[in-house]
Assembly symmetry: C4
């Protein structure tokens, strides 16, 4: 295969990528854009296969609130049905004229019990209604205990508030060219001790067999003390680089992927946070350089970081 020869024989192969090198398991990309492994797990039950708590922490806010509301409605519908079946005559203070009203009042009594509001203008008499309301109040308190945990979990979940540029660039660098990826923090957080790593993943045929190959791309700077402005990761495409000799056309036709790993200490959490992203070769712009995205403000008292310019680049001829 012609293209295989392109890969630099001097390039350091990366054997510890976590994606095996044998067998044809490449499925279009190794990591999705937001950094999850592009892997589907089968052979375990659904319940076992997900961590529901962390799923509740990750889903969008509106879904989270919708689930809470739905749960609230369904649980109370269930208990309202129970009270209705026991008989609303065991709920003191109900004055309903028809079945629908009876059910509605049972439903509202259920809510008053579940939330422990307990106005008391409706109240249970007899063993069964009292017993069911006892269980409901317990369940109410426990689910609010769980909700407290979920809210706190959502808020306090360590997360790297960092954005990557949409594209990776092949840009001029010193006397040659380099692969560049840019990132910037976008929230009011203090990030320090940032460490980055770039892996190149290729899916190719070797002796008529599909193989995955991974290479570590050396960075000009792998660590910075504080990540306060934008940071451009620069992999110089020297003779040692596995990308050495790749043409614009190669990037357009080969199935390859640039995987970026970032680890940074966030003061807010006093913890290290991780972030991953990936760029397929189709997301690499050959011949472009990033525009500067910061500047001093007019009265010279602060540096301004323009986050909307994160992916701003201009074309250059290499």
């Amino acid at each position: 295969m012609e293209f295989l020869k392109k890969i630099n024989s001097k390039a350091k192969q990366d054997t510890d990528s976590g994606f095996g090198t044998n067998a044809s398991n490449y499925g279009g990309r190794f990591f999705t854009k937001n950094g999850n492994a592009n892997v589907k797990k089968v052979g375990v039950g659904f319940v076992e296969s997900i961590s529901w708590f962390h799923t509740m922490l990750s889903i969008p806010r509106w879904k989270f609130l919708f689930i809470i509301l739905l749960f609230y409605f369904v649980v109370n519908l269930f208990f309202a049905t129970l009270y209705y079946l026991i008989g609303v005559e065991h709920l003191n203070g109900i004055s309903a004229e028809n079945d629908l009203e009876k059910f509605a009042q049972a439903f509202f009594f259920s809510i008053q019990t579940y939330t422990t509001v307990g106005y008391g203008h409706i109240n249970p008499t007899g063993f069964y209604a009292s017993f069911v309301s006892s269980i409901e109040a317990l369940i109410g308190l426990l689910t609010f205990a769980i909700a407290t945990g979920l809210f706190f979990g959502r808020f306090s979940k360590p997360e790297a508030f960092i954005r990557f540029s949409q594209n990776a660039l092949i840009a001029p660098y010193e006397n040659g060219i380099a692969l560049m990826v840019r990132m910037a923090p976008y929230k009011n957080t203090n990030l320090s001790e940032a460490e980055a790593r770039i892996t190149l993943g290729l899916s190719l045929e070797e002796n008529d067999k599909l193989v995955n190959k991974f290479y570590q791309l050396d960075l000009e700077m792998e660590k910075i003390n504080s990540l306060t402005l934008s940071w451009t990761l620069v992999h110089p495409i020297t003779k040692e680089s596995p990308l050495y000799g790749f043409s614009k056309n190669d990037f357009e036709t080969i199935d390859g992927e640039i995987i970026v790993f970032l680890k940074v200490f966030d003061d807010m959490y006093s913890n290290h946070v991780m972030k991953r992203t990936s760029f397929t070769f189709k997301e690499i712009i050959y011949g472009a350089k990033f525009n500067l995205m910061y500047d001093r403000n007019t009265d010279d008292t602060k540096t301004i970081l323009y986050l909307d310019k994160l992916n701003s680049y201009e074309k250059v001829v290499l």
Copy 2:
């Protein structure tokens, strides 16, 4: 002892295993299958010897819920008894015909107080009933505060969602053989920076004295960047290995154990999690190799990981 000579004199002994080398303290295995040290501690009181909070976090869900339910019932039984002893005539709104009904209504009043539902159709009059209900409401709120902590603790407890193969294999490897253990992540989590370590523990007689000996087993790869598919730990049984020269029969007759330590960074917790397991020599299959457990899906967009194949192997002649 014949077998002692088998152990490679070049093998690196591991002096820092945490299990002493002197004295006859070997009790069948050093670690249980799920990674706890096989040690019983005596000489401290029961209360001191366990961390009850963490026990509540580790017990199965049904036990946890049962304990909550039992506690709820017992506490309210206690307070119901108090109200009953004070006299239900100090509880306004009770209309009971016999002692059982009186007690039942005191019990339900207790629950309405404990959960702070407080319908109020039953309410305390007089100092004693009011005082007891004041204490009960406080205890109610505090126990729900504790329950909130327990639920959150259970959900947010860092845990390595990784499974190990049931067996370790002695498999062909390059031109010789190797000890192999396989693991795979089984939940929707992102694991990175995985580090593994294997220790061999042997309990044997040396100069008529029982001794424990520990050896570090060198791995072909000790770290991987991301643990997204299965990972097979490979200890090549070379001339430097303490297992060099062990026959199938040796594995069947010797009291030995393979202890596996894993440390991995889990994005979900932004924290390192640890996992341990152990394989006794009886759990080692001599002459077998793991079957591949992943594949690409039909439309080539994802890698599929078959978790039910984690322990799938086929016999081979070594």
Copy 3:
């Protein structure tokens, strides 16, 4: 430029400061006194640009309590208005003589619902009032769940309880001079494994272009095992130092900044905490030395640390 020549050509330049070296982005200081990067981010929406949870954890206590109180008031005003619009005749037990009283009673009913007190002397009848109160009770419980998380977050937020001296000093040291910064822990915490780092930032013209330059300042001691008393960071101004040859006048006229990074393990949180501060050249006292700030107590049983002497120094001639 005359002053540029002053900078020691042997000095180690620090390329990984997180503030780029190109372009004129210097805005008076790189870090504020309390360690935040002096950067303004534009180009993202307000909501995206802040982490509101962590803002709530960082604001002063009185602001936090004021926000809670305001929120409590506004939410109940909103629901009171709803009940008022539905009609207070759907709230049983209201006995008001005029509109203001009606509204006030609707307001207090709202509070009794929101807090789940639910005395019940006012209670909802009819579908609309019951429905609104059902939603309000849910919102009440959820906001208190959030409040619980906020309180816990505020209390448990890892923070380095360390103070720095107001000034950095140029003090006599051995046979020469040194830059000194002092710090001390001020709470009842156990700090260990402290690590410090000092970076010098300069904003200067080079070939008619404004440039930022950063230098690592070597410390006589970079780590200490436990931070129990005061700790004076000492950067000896030797021939290798970028500050070598700087006169008192230089410190007064040049735009420079000393950035101090501290990382320490706090037992209380079982976590590393970070602290930063910065000293502009104007905050450096040329020719002064720190007075000792600890002593043994009268009965020789404890060491006394005088925190009010943290910035206490006396002038010396260099």
Copy 4:
């Protein structure tokens, strides 16, 4: 001073102990037995000098519960007084015959509001009583939010469940002697990656000036993989040791201290935990060795660790 010559000139001095070497700040011991620095901080206000949250996490359980109970009582006394001053006639449902009864009922109404039980048989009428109860219910919920945080904080606070022997021993070791300290885990936790460090602190006169000197004591083994049984730290007193040549009498008369630092990863918290302790020279037994504290159980299935033998030693002649 005669004794000064005793200190090995080859011994590595430890300059980074966190206790300065200059000045007479030695106050009997550097660290207390339970590992806190023996330092008193003055010059900051009381409120600033303590972290009240963490104090609440560290105090004994009975004190913690007492404080909660006291707070509950005092707050309700305060609000009861307010209601009493407003006039109990604004509390519906009170039927008191004298002032004490009125106050008692106001007190119980306060509690029913504070805990949000809100039976409602007593309920507020008029603006002032309603307003005060609105504030009280808010405060009630917020304090229970805080209590939830405190309980969770107490339970989940990372802590090293490790005990040290009461005494350090000077014991025979190989062909010479060694300083030995023993420790053992005492709860159902999995500890791994234990690291220990011993520092020797001496307070002595040098040229008629009191000086503190610190030395690092080299350990035969500084790290172990898992801390499952007891661990004896061994510092061989070789010619390089600062303790070389110390006689029994020296240990009895010199003001010295052995400071032990331990860092270990606890699975339960997925976190590193720290533990410190110190032994004054008076707590060192010259000429003794530890008895073994573990054994296999009768049916050879487990190792038994006898925690009551942690400090068990027998005298030997050196």
